[in-house]
Symmetry: C2
Subunit: 597 residues, 2 copies
C-alpha cells in the first residue's frame, strides 16, 4: 500500500482560484485568519493526518471495530492511539465557536481537514464527522446549559456524538419513526424517558472516548404523525455531574454491530434505548427542523467522501502505474518492458481520475465557500447576499452529495482496475477503497433522494432562476474561455452543456406542476447532467484565474480542466432523452412483467 | 437473500428470436437436437442449478475455500455436496465430443447452462469453467493418448482442469513467462520436468475432485524470447496408471491462496512446480497458439459472468423493491406507505437493469451462436460461411468480454443501491454480487486489453468491413423498426448510433496506420460506443421477430428493448469526442505532473 500525500497544492488551488477563500477571509466574520494562516494550518493538519491517521486505515479494515458480549465495542488498537492524538491535535475544533473552545475559522478550512482525514482513513473519520454534526445541532438548538455542559468536551473530541434517526421501518422515510419519549419529571425537571430501537448508528458505541452524546429522534405523547411530530433528545451514555465529572451509565446499549461491505473500522450499531433519560434539544416537535439545520453540512461532508477516496485511490493507482512493468510502450525497443503508465488506456484511466478529482474538489469547496459567505453576509446583516449564498448552497448540496459519491465509486473502481489482478487481492488496499466508498451513495439521504430534492425543492427556488443564473455565469465564462489559447473546444463544450441544462431545466419547470412522475423520473439523469456541467463551469473559473501562468503545476491544472471539458463533460449530453422522456417508459412494465423470466 | 429463478423464457427468447438457434439445430453438425430438446434440457439444468448449486453461494462467500498447512485447500462442505451432484448430473459435458462422453450439443446450449450456473454461484462455476477450457485445449491439441486418458473423466467433472499462465512478472504480458521445462526422458519418453511459480491459478488445488489436470505454460531450453518460445504442458496432480487408476502425487503444490475482494469460494492459488513431470500438449513452442484456441470461448464465458451476476442481483433487487415499504408513491393517499418499486427513481434503476440484461443476453448468445454456426459451416465445407461466422465471432468477443463485465459491475451496484442501507450489510447478499463480479473486468485479458484487441486486430479485419457490414445490417433493421408502432424513436436513435460508429470506425481506420497512440487512446470509449450500439441493433432483431405479439411477456421484451434504444443507447453518443481526440491530451501531463498535489 502506498502512503497518503496530503494534496495541499490542489486544495489551495481549489480554495483560492475557484472557491474564493479571499472573499471569505476578507469578511468581517472571518477576519481572524488570512489565506496564509489557513494554508499553514492545513499543511500542519495534512502532515499530522498522513503520519498519524493514515497508517491505521488498513487495521480498520482487517481488524475492524467489533461488538463484544455485554455490548462493548472495541476498536483496533491503532485507532485508539490515533484518536488520542487527534484529540490532542485540536483540528476537530477549528471551525467551531471560540466561546466553547473552537478556532472560529471558516467552514471551508474544516472541509479541507475533513477531506484529508477521510482520504487517510474513512472509517476513522466518521467518528469526528458524527461528533461535528451533534456539535452543530446542540450549538444551534441546545440550551445554554446543554452547550456549556457538552460542547467543550465534544469540540476537543474527548466526548463524541451520534445521530439516531433510522429505525427498521424508518429509513429514507424519517417520518415513520416510532421511538417514544415520555416525561420523566420524577427524575429531574425537563427530563424524558426515551425508548426504542435505532439502527445504522455510526460510532454508536466504542471505547475511544470517555462519553458519547446521542442525539435521538423520538415522539412525545400525542404528537402528530409523520415528520411533524418528531422531537430531538440529547441522551448521554454517561450522565454528567454538576462538576462536569461523569456519573452513572444511562439505559442505552449497543445490541450488535453490522457486518458491512466496507468501513469496517466504523462500528455501525443497533442501539437500544430502554427508558434512557434524555433532554429536549430545541422545542418539542422541532426534531425535523433541527435535522435540517445540520443537513447541508452533513450532506456536503458525505459528498466529500467521494472526493477523498477517489484521491486516495488515485494516488495509489498512479504509484502502481509507475512501478509496474508490463508490456511494451509504443515506440519502445523490441523486448523492452515499460511501466504501464506509458500505455494509452492506463493513461486514460489516470487522466479520468485526475480530472474528476479536480472537478469534484472545485464543486465541493465552492459549496463550502457558499456556506461561509452566507454566514459572513448574515453576520453583517447583508440580507440579499445571505439569500444569494444560501440559494447557491442549497442548489449545490444535492450535486455535491450525489455526484461526488457516485463518481467516487466509479473512480475507486478505475483505480482498482489499474492494478490488474493485484487490485482484487485485498492486501493491495485498492479494493478497500472501493468497498469503503460504496456506502456513501446510500447514507445521509440516498442519491435518489438527493435527485428528488434537486428537482423538487431546489429547482423550484425562484422559479428555476437560481439554476439559470448559474448557467448564465457559465456562459459568460465560456465566452472568456474561448479566448484562452487551447481552450476553444472546452469553451464550446461548456456552452453546449449549459444549453442542454437550460433545455432540461425549462422542461422540468414545465412538468413540475402538472406531472410529478415525469419530474421524478428525470431526476437522476438531470442531476448528473447539471452536476457535471457545474463542475466544468467551476473548473473554467480556475483556468481563467491562472491562464498564462507558465509553471508545471498550473499548466497541469489547465490540462486537467481541458480534459474534463473536452472528454468528460460531453459524456453527459446523451442524458437529455431520459430527462425529456415522460415517466411512462419506466412504468410500462408491471412488477409481474419485470419479474417474468 | 432471494432464491434464484432460472430465466428460461428470457434465454429461449435470446436464443430463438435473436441468436438463431433455429439455424444452428437445422445444420448437419447439430442435427442431433432440435430447439425443443435444447429447451427441455435447459429447463432441467435450470431446476437443478437453482435447487442444488444456488443455495451454496453464500457459504462460498462466508466460509470460502481455504488453504491449509501442507498445501491442502478445503472448500465449504456445501460445495463438496453440490459438486458431487454436478458430476452426477452430466450437464458439464453436454457440448463436448460424444467420443469422450459428451453430448454433442451446440455451444450455445452450454452457454445457457453456464449463465445459470454462474448466476447461481460464481465462485463454484469457475471450477467447471476452467475444466472446460482445459478439455478444449486437450481435445484440439492433445495426443490421442492424452485424450483417451484425461478427457472422459474431465468431461464428467470427476477430474478438474486448470490453466497456468500468470507469473508475478507475467500478467497481461504472457510473453514474460519464465517457468522452465526440461526433458525428462529418464522418467519416460516424452516427459518433461516443469519448474516455476504460477500465480492466480483458479481452482489450482482443492478437494472436490480426485485429480486435477494442470495445463502449464513454460519454456523449453533454447526457446525464443517472448510468446514465440512458450510451450504448453499437461501436468497431472496425480499420475494416471495405465489402467486408469491414480498413482503417485506429482511435484506440484499449492503454496498459498489469495485473500480476495470476492469469489471467496473459488481458491486462487499460488502453485509451485518443482520438477513436476508433464507432457507437451501440441508441439514445442506452440503454447500461445494453443491458448488462442481457447481464448474466444474463455472470453465469452467471462463476459457471461457480467450478465449472470447482473441477472442474479436484479432478481434480488426487484424482490426487495416489491417487499420494502418506504415513503408514499405519487397519488397514494396521505399517510400511506408504498413499496419502493412505485418510486420513479427506483423504477429507473430496475428498468436500467432489466434492459441491460436483455441487451447483454442478446450480445452474448449471438456471439455463442456465431461460434456454433462457424463450426456448422466448417463441418459441411462451407468456407465462405465459416469465414463470415468466424469474423463475427472475433469481432464480438472483445465486446462480449468487456462491455458485459463493465456493465455487470455497474448493474450489481445499482441492485445494491436499491437495497439502501441493507445493501451495504453483508447478510443481505447484494454486496457479494458487487464484490464477486469485480474480478471479471480484470482476468482473461483486462478490459483495456480487449479494447486494444478491438481497435488493433478486429478493426483491421477486411479493412473495417466486418464492422461496417454489421452497421449496414443495423441500418436495415432500423428502417424496419421505424415502421413498427411505437418504435420510431428507437429506430432513430439506432440509426444515429450507427452513424456515430461509422464516423468513429472510419477515423480509427485512418489513424491505425499512422498514429498507434491515437488508436489505442480511443480504444475503450470506442468499445463502449460500438458494443452498446451492437446491443441495440441485436435487440431490434428481437423486436422485429415478435412485433405484434400481444402477450404480456413479448410486450415486456419490446418495452425493454425500446427503453434500451431510447434511454440507454443515447448515453454513449457523448463518447465520440474522446474517440476523435488524438492521444495528446492523455499524455499532456507528465508522471510528475500527475503526481503533483
Amino acid at each position: 500500500m502506498s502512503d497518503y500525500t496530503p494534496p495541499l497544492a490542489d486544495i489551495k488551488f481549489a480554495m483560492e482560484a475557484i472557491a474564493d477563500l479571499g472573499a471569505i477571509v476578507a469578511s468581517d466574520r472571518y477576519s481572524g485568519a488570512d489565506a496564509a494562516t489557513v494554508e499553514g494550518i492545513l499543511a500542519e493538519a495534512g502532515r499530522f493526518i498522513a503520519e498519524v491517521i493514515a497508517p491505521a486505515n488498513r487495521d480498520g479494515d482487517t481488524i475492524g471495530s467489533k461488538w463484544q458480549p455485554g455490548g462493548k465495542v472495541t476498536v483496533p488498537p491503532s485507532f485508539e492511539v490515533a484518536y488520542a492524538k487527534w484529540v490532542e491535535s485540536g483540528f476537530g475544533a477549528m471551525s467551531f465557536d471560540p466561546d466553547f473552545g473552537g478556532g472560529g475559522l471558516p467552514w471551508i478550512a474544516s472541509i479541507a481537514v475533513q477531506e484529508m482525514l477521510t482520504s487517510a482513513n474513512m472509517g476513522f473519520s466518521l467518528c469526528p464527522l458524527l461528533t461535528q454534526g451533534a456539535i452543530e445541532a446542540i450549538h444551534v438548538h441546545g440550551s445554554d446549559e446543554q452547550k456549556a455542559t457538552y460542547l467543550p468536551k465534544m469540540l476537543t473530541g474527548e466526548w463524541t456524538g451520534t445521530m439516531n434517526l433510522t429505525e427498521p421501518q424508518a429509513g429514507s422515510d424519517v417520518g415513520a419513526v416510532i421511538s417514544k419519549a415520555e416525561p420523566a419529571d420524577d427524575v429531574a425537571p425537563g427530563a424524558w424517558r426515551i425508548s426504542g430501537q435505532k439502527i445504522y448508528i455510526t460510532w454508536g458505541e466504542h471505547d475511544m472516548a470517555s462519553n458519547i452524546v446521542h442525539l435521538v429522534l423520538a415522539r412525545t405523547p400525542g404528537s402528530a404523525p409523520g415528520t411533524k411530530g418528531i422531537s430531538m433528545f440529547l441522551v448521554p451514555k454517561f450522565f454528567v455531574n454538576a462538576d462536569g465529572s461523569l456519573g452513572d451509565r444511562n439505559a442505552v446499549q449497543c445490541l450488535s454491530t453490522e457486518h458491512k461491505m466496507g468501513i469496517h473500522g466504523s462500528p455501525t450499531c443497533v442501539m437500544l434505548y430502554e427508558g434512557a433519560i434524555g433532554w429536549l434539544v430545541g422545542g418539542e416537535n422541532e426534531g425535523m427542523r433541527n435535522m435540517f439545520t445540520m443537513m447541508n453540512n452533513a450532506r456536503l461532508s458525505v459528498g466529500l467522501q467521494g472526493l477523498a477516496l477517489a484521491e486516495r485511490a488515485y494516488q495509489q493507482a498512479l504509484q502502481y502505474s509507475v512501478d509496474r512493468q508490463q508490456g511494451r510502450a509504443i515506440g519502445a525497443p523490441a523486448g523492452a518492458s515499460s511501466p504501464i503508465i506509458e500505455h494509452p488506456d492506463v493513461r486514460r484511466m489516470l487522466m479520468t481520475q485526475r480530472a474528476w478529482i479536480d472537478a469534484l474538489r472545485a464543486l465541493l469547496y465552492t459549496n463550502a465557500a457558499a456556506i461561509d459567505l452566507g454566514a459572513a453576509a448574515r453576520t453583517v446583516g447583508d440580507r440579499d447576499g445571505a439569500r444569494t449564498w444560501q440559494e447557491l448552497t442549497e442548489l449545490l448540496i444535492p450535486l455535491s452529495k450525489s455526484l461526488s459519491t457516485d463518481v467516487g465509486c466509479e473512480m475507486t473502481s478505475l483505480a482498482l482496475q489499474i492494478h490488474g489482478g493485484m487490485g482484487f487481492v485485498e492486501e493491495t488496499g485498492a479494493a478497500q477503497h472501493v468497498r469503503d466508498i460504496r456506502i456513501a451513495p446510500i447514507y445521509e439521504g440516498t442519491n435518489g433522494i438527493q435527485a428528488a430534492d434537486l428537482v423538487g425543492r431546489k429547482l423550484a427556488m425562484r422559479g428555476g432562476a437560481v439554476i439559470t443564473d448559474l448557467l448564465d455565469e457559465f456562459d459568460g465564462r465560456s465566452a472568456a474561455l474561448a479566448r484562452v489559447e487551447g481552450c476553444a473546444a472546452y469553451a464550446e463544450q461548456l456552452s453546449h452543456a449549459t444549453a442542454l441544462c437550460r433545455t432540461a431545466t425549462a422542461h422540468l419547470g414545465t412538468v413540475a406542476a402538472t406531472d410529478p412522475r415525469a419530474l421524478l423520473s428525470a431526476s437522476s439523469p438531470y442531476l448528473r447532467l447539471l452536476g457535471t456541467t457545474v463542475c466544468a463551469g467551476l473548473l473554467a473559473k480556475g483556468v481563467l484565474a491562472v491562464a498564462g501562468k507558465d509553471d508545471d503545476y498550473h499548466r497541469a491544472r489547465i490540462a486537467s480542466a481541458r480534459f474534463f471539458g473536452e472528454q468528460i463533460l460531453p459524456t453527459v449530453s446523451g442524458l437529455l432523452p431520459s430527462i425529456l422522456a415522460s415517466g411512462a417508459p419506466l412504468y410500462e412494465l408491471s412488477a409481474a412483467q419485470l419479474a417474468s423470466r
